[in-house]
Amino acid sequence: MDDGLHLLRAARRTVTGPAALLGDPVLRERTAGYLADLTRPYGLRIPDGLFDAPPGTLGQSYGEMAAELIPVVVPPDEPVDLLVLTFAVHDMLPGRATAAYLSHVCPGGPMSFALCDQGSAAAFTGLRIARGYGCRRALLVTVEQAVLPYDAVVPVPARHRAVAMLYGTGTGTGTGTGDGARVTALRQHAGVRADDVAALAAAEVRELTTGRGDAAVVLGADLAAAWPGPGGDAVTTGPQRQPSTGVWWALLDRLAADAARPRPVVAADYEPGLGYLSVVALEPVSRSEPVGERGAHERAQPLVRLRGADGDPDPGAG
């Protein structure tokens, strides 16, 4: 019996509309006070009139972004045991225990928490923790918004985006969608200098794809910039300036593109600010099936179902 975690379903979204909660004047005032106290010791300034602006320009609520994806990937009869929310850039309700709320709206009322202060490595850490829980199903949601409500001179994500991935044990999950892609390896390296990441990433990918000539490689944009390995069709690069969601967004693209002929995938990303290299390997469960045993209608279906519209006004831009 295979007791490892499998990526069963996924959904993603680019958010363009306003956060409903930020239309509440009480919450806006509370957020304004919180952010003023947050930034004051660091000499940062919140733009005048920011909280007089329409909600659509103010920023996002990660609770709303994640809550919209949960019903897309988690049917009511498939209770989740663990929910991990990960982010780097905070949202516009920074004092809120969003993960606790998400537990309330997720089937199964799972144990939930958020991981942060780890940049793009946090989602990989969330998956690593999920593997350690030995749970039937774990929901990993990574989110990022494209604004900071103060004048910090740092790059922010290009768009408000969220990716939700439902992982579960390969058998007995009752999904009726096949067993997805099994997580076969998950490695993280800390303290990796920019000068060293290319060689280390290449070595990891080489080791995880040895003997698998058909394996695909998915790289976050920050790692792709340093990538020394072969390119071409085998390598998919995540969108620029989406440091938290980018590699997962591209992974889902890769899995969808390979729906007819699933193949192993290694996805990796580098967090340049904090020095983390994270690598995950996935193996389609039905890969050993001889070609032709899957019917034509089955080959048209991805092993990992990407559900829901992207809601991306400009999908071609990644």
């Binding site: 309330h104 939930s112 202060d117 490595a121």
Partner: protein, 312 residues
């Protein structure tokens, strides 16, 4: 089995009477009297001169074994009540790791369970350790940190309920140590009390103690022990009245709850468990083989009730 190998706590020396909080927080005399007389909260620790990084480093400095063991530390997990405490990308956790020579460890913050986040951090760190191979220097270790500044109104007090102290803790965890072994953990979240959940604060007050009692019972069941077998309960320092009432509800003698720190320290966010553990050790209240329970409630937006049972 996850075990706590060492614990260190830091509390600022500077004591602030609850009366001094009245003007800056706009509290009435009645509210102040409620804290002091009804809830037994008389003063808190605050030091504006200490940054969050300072707090975390001072707690870590109390782990005298850490410098010699640092190469075995594979994980640094920061359990924090408030999800965002610095502007992005300011990162006190990684500043602390660099200062302590822990740049080789995987470091992250676990949050959004409010003041129950520390117990989840211990649980997660233990699970990561269990899957981690030995280091060249010996079995892997995790450093679990807590620590917060009372930097904003919500981090200074909970209306009619509690007042917060600044402080921090650091503890070393192993997967096979024998000193304080984690027997069981239970956690129950009530996200309906979030701002988007629709439930009223009044209902939260009604479910608070029954929910905490339920999660304590579940932790005891999982540990295969009973309330009567516990040597001690290390509470969250929310106030005295909550624990008096909870003890009546579950039939626990109040003298088995270590409430020494409520009056003079108040609620130290996620660090209460470790503050109280230190006091229990200093007072010689734990003997080898004793079982004790740690309770925590995260009551920000949304609520998390959690309990752990340890064997000393």
């Amino acid at each position: 089995m996850t075990a706590i190998d060492a614990v260190s706590v830091f509390l600022p020396q500077r004591r602030v009477p609850v009366e001094s909080l009245a003007a800056p927080l706009g509290l009435s005399d009645m509210q102040v009297r409620l804290f002091r007389r009804f809830h037994g909260l008389t003063e808190v620790r605050r030091d504006p001169a200490l940054s969050l990084t300072d707090l975390l480093l001072r707690a870590a400095a109390g782990l005298t074994a850490l410098p010699a063991l640092r190469r075995r530390v594979r994980f640094v997990v920061y359990g924090r009540a408030f999800p965002v405490v610095t502007p992005y990308p300011v990162n006190p956790l990684h500043e602390v790791c660099r200062t302590l020579g822990l740049g080789h460890a995987l470091a992250f913050t676990l949050t959004q369970q409010s003041c129950a986040s520390a117990l989840a951090a211990i649980d997660v760190a233990g699970r990561l350790l269990a899957a981690e191979p030995d280091t060249p220097d010996g079995p892997p270790l995790a450093l679990v940190l807590t620590g917060e500044k009372a930097f904003t109104r919500d981090a200074q007090f909970i209306p009619e309920t509690s007042v917060f102290s600044e402080g921090s803790s650091a503890c070393l965890l192993s997967a096979g140590g024998g000193r304080d072994r984690l027997l069981a953990y239970a956690c129950h979240q009530r996200g309906e009390f979030d701002v988007a959940g629709g439930e009223s604060p009044a209902r939260f007050q009604r479910v608070y103690r029954p929910a905490l009692a339920e999660v304590i019972g579940r932790a005891l069941d999982r540990a295969g022990t009973t309330l009567s077998e516990l040597r001690l309960v290390l509470p969250h320092n929310v106030n005295l009245m909550t624990w008096k009432r909870l003890c009546r509800l579950i039939g626990l003698p109040l003298e088995r709850v270590l409430l020494d720190n409520v009056t003079g320290t108040g609620h130290v966010f996620c660090a209460d468990a470790f503050v109280n553990y230190r006091t229990a050790r200093e007072r010689g209240l734990l003997r080898p083989g004793d079982r004790y329970l740690v309770a925590a409630v995260g009551a920000g937006d949304g609520a998390t009730f959690a309990a752990m049972v340890f064997e000393h």
